[in-house]
């Protein structure tokens, strides 16, 4: 986040912070979607989701090392684009299978347990992931290779909008559209909506709820994987504790939009991003976290269903 803050100092004006907030917010939205889908179906606050995101960014970093783009100095555009593409394919695959595997091993045996039991084991999974991240890349922040140019696309307008911002928007928006289409038009999407609405009735209609839940975890994990690659490329530094805070921001976004609601998660993510950046700019960077969690508490007190929660009864 330090890198981000350095960027804001060079830029000026409200519009710049708004833009930055929207870009960061679309990242939070991507993570928030994973929370909201899982919560919509099995009512579990998946505390491990943020740490899954962290492991994803570590994998992307590892891929960059293996391919060798981080060490060589001048790379062709094709090599860079190819690396980013490989990251964007392999990291979501890894996160999806890891998330589905955790669901199979840890959460599925607890399907009929009290909610507290499942939440506590999710916290346990989060600790284990964090420790694995610590073993993988160590305790101090690691630099992520700078694969995408920082060149400003509109040098004369006074607003800084770089290729990086284009990349974030260009990856997150199509992903969200694809997700919406998937949930709305495929039979698996229909099964997910049905399970979210009424698990028992869905099961009676012949829906294999365990499979639906596994697919939900896989999709949520894949979204976290995409987000982790984009985050790494954008912020250029990753560390093993970043999952906790980014995960909490994303969950705040999900709650803000109405947990279990896909457009709500996107809206919430954008709002959190903008509020965070404006808070940093006008109130002070050290208070921006407190502001975001303050919003979380106020939303939960005054409108627990979230901004869009009441409008639709469907949870996915």
């Amino acid at each position: 986040m330090i890198e981000l803050f350095a960027q804001t100092e060079t830029a000026t004006g409200f519009g710049q912070f708004l833009l930055l907030g929207l870009v960061i917010g679309s990242l939070y939205a991507l993570i928030a979607l994973g929370y909201t889908m899982v919560y919509g179906i099995i009512e579990l606050i998946n505390f491990a989701h943020g740490d899954l995101f962290m492991l994803g960014s570590f994998l992307a970093l590892q891929l960059a090392f293996w391919i060798g783009v981080s060490t060589a100095t001048d790379q062709t555009t094709v090599a860079l684009a190819g690396t980013v593409l490989i990251m964007l394919i392999l990291t979501p695959l890894f996160c999806a299978s890891l998330n589905a595997a955790v669901d199979r091993v840890v959460y599925r045996p607890l399907r009929n347990s009290p909610k507290l039991t499942v939440i506590v084991s999710a916290i346990g999974v989060s600790f284990v992931f964090m420790n694995l991240g610590l073993f993988w890349k160590g305790a101090s922040p690691v630099k992520f290779p700078d694969l995408i140019s920082d060149q400003n696309l509109f040098p004369d307008s006074g607003i800084r909008f770089t290729w990086k911002d284009v990349m974030v928007v260009g990856v997150t928006v199509p992903t969200m559209i694809a997700l919406t289409l998937f949930v709305r038009f495929t039979s698996m999407g229909k099964a997910m909506r049905a399970t979210a609405q009424n698990p028992t009735a869905a099961r009676l209609m012949g829906i294999n709820s365990d499979r639906v839940i596994a697919v939900t975890f896989a999709i949520g994990g894949a979204l976290a994987g995409v987000a982790s690659v984009v985050y790494g490329l954008y912020v250029k530094a990753v560390d093993y504790q970043m999952g906790f805070q980014n995960g909490l921001y994303a969950f705040t976004a999900a709650v803000l939009g109405g947990v279990g609601n896909i457009p709500g998660a996107v809206l919430g993510g954008l709002i959190i991003g903008v509020v965070g950046e404006l808070g940093k700019a006008y109130i002070g960077a050290k208070w921006s976290e407190a502001i975001i969690f303050g919003i979380l508490i106020l939303i939960l007190i005054f409108r627990p269903s979230g901004l869009l929660g009441a409008r639709t009864r469907e949870k996915v």
């Binding site: 506590v120 346990g124 906790f244």
Partner: protein
Amino acid sequence: MNVLRYWVQALFILLAAYPFLPFAEANRGEQFTILFIYSILALGLNVILGYTGLLHLGIAAFFGIGAYTVGILTVPFFPFQQSFLVAALAAMVAASVIGVVTTAPILRLRGDYLALVTLGFGLITLYAIRNLDAITEGTKGLNPIDPGPLPGVSGQDMSAWQRINPDWGRRWYNYPYLYFVTLGVLAIVMILLRNLERSRLGRAWVALREDELAASCMGLNPARLKLAAIAIGAGLAGLAGAFYAMALSTTGNPQAFDFTLSMIMVCCVILGGLGNRAGVLLGVFLLMGFDRILTNILDNMIQENIGVGGANYLKVSGWKLFIFGMVLILMMRFRPEGLLPEKRHQRELHPEFDEAIGEAAAKRETAQQTGHPTRKPAPPS
């Protein structure tokens, strides 16, 4: 079996004797003092999480509030200069009041949302402590905390006691004086909580935990009961924080009161057994003992005997989060009621026990009806 029944009492006697044993080390004793303090904190969380069933993920905030109340009331930087007794009472009251005031608006939230709000509250408290440099000195912490134990007693020179054992500290909050004080306070808290468990309030909490709707239909007021649990739990956490600041003689880095501490306390309570005082004590001694004492010993042993080091996975302390996480996952999967379960909790989580008892009773009845009086009634398992 009878020996095991009194293991808590035996443990307290052993711990009270520890500083007089020939192999006692001041260093180890100070670590034990910290364990006693965390035990008080965990017992406070147990009132909220174990008795009443509210998943509170911000208990460390009350611990921090307690520590900083003592800091503000005693350091030379501020004009208050109170003795420790006054400051500790103020810490309890402050934590209690803040707990009640911040929890009152969120009582109607369901379990997991409540968990989230308390987590947010814990983080905001931590950020506030860290950012209000003018009051809390930011990451440096308030120091030196050096008050007398009682109003009017300076208590800083314990040289009379040092004649008994030259290793003993010069101030009342050095080892072993604070060791005895915290051990005594822990014992008093255990006894008070035992009485509380059996009181009207304690039984009402359990009723609320088991079934809130049924409890409110029987005339219990859930909001008031939950607030009472928060008040008592937060008060104990504030007291623990007060002793923590005293043991360190500084409030230290506010990072010590972050989410990880809250989570480790939840781990301790769950590992030991929700709602069971002795279990909570066991949980703290196992997990915090591992975290604070055993990992250091093992790391040093590895360092001396094998001589490797550096990489995180070669140190026991590097595995800390992994071990905590696995403890949580495995406990939830195989023994969600904890190592030393409270009976009611165990029945709730294992309905098959009650079913087995019911089946045995039914068999007995059929046996009597069909006229086999010679058959022994099945013993209730």
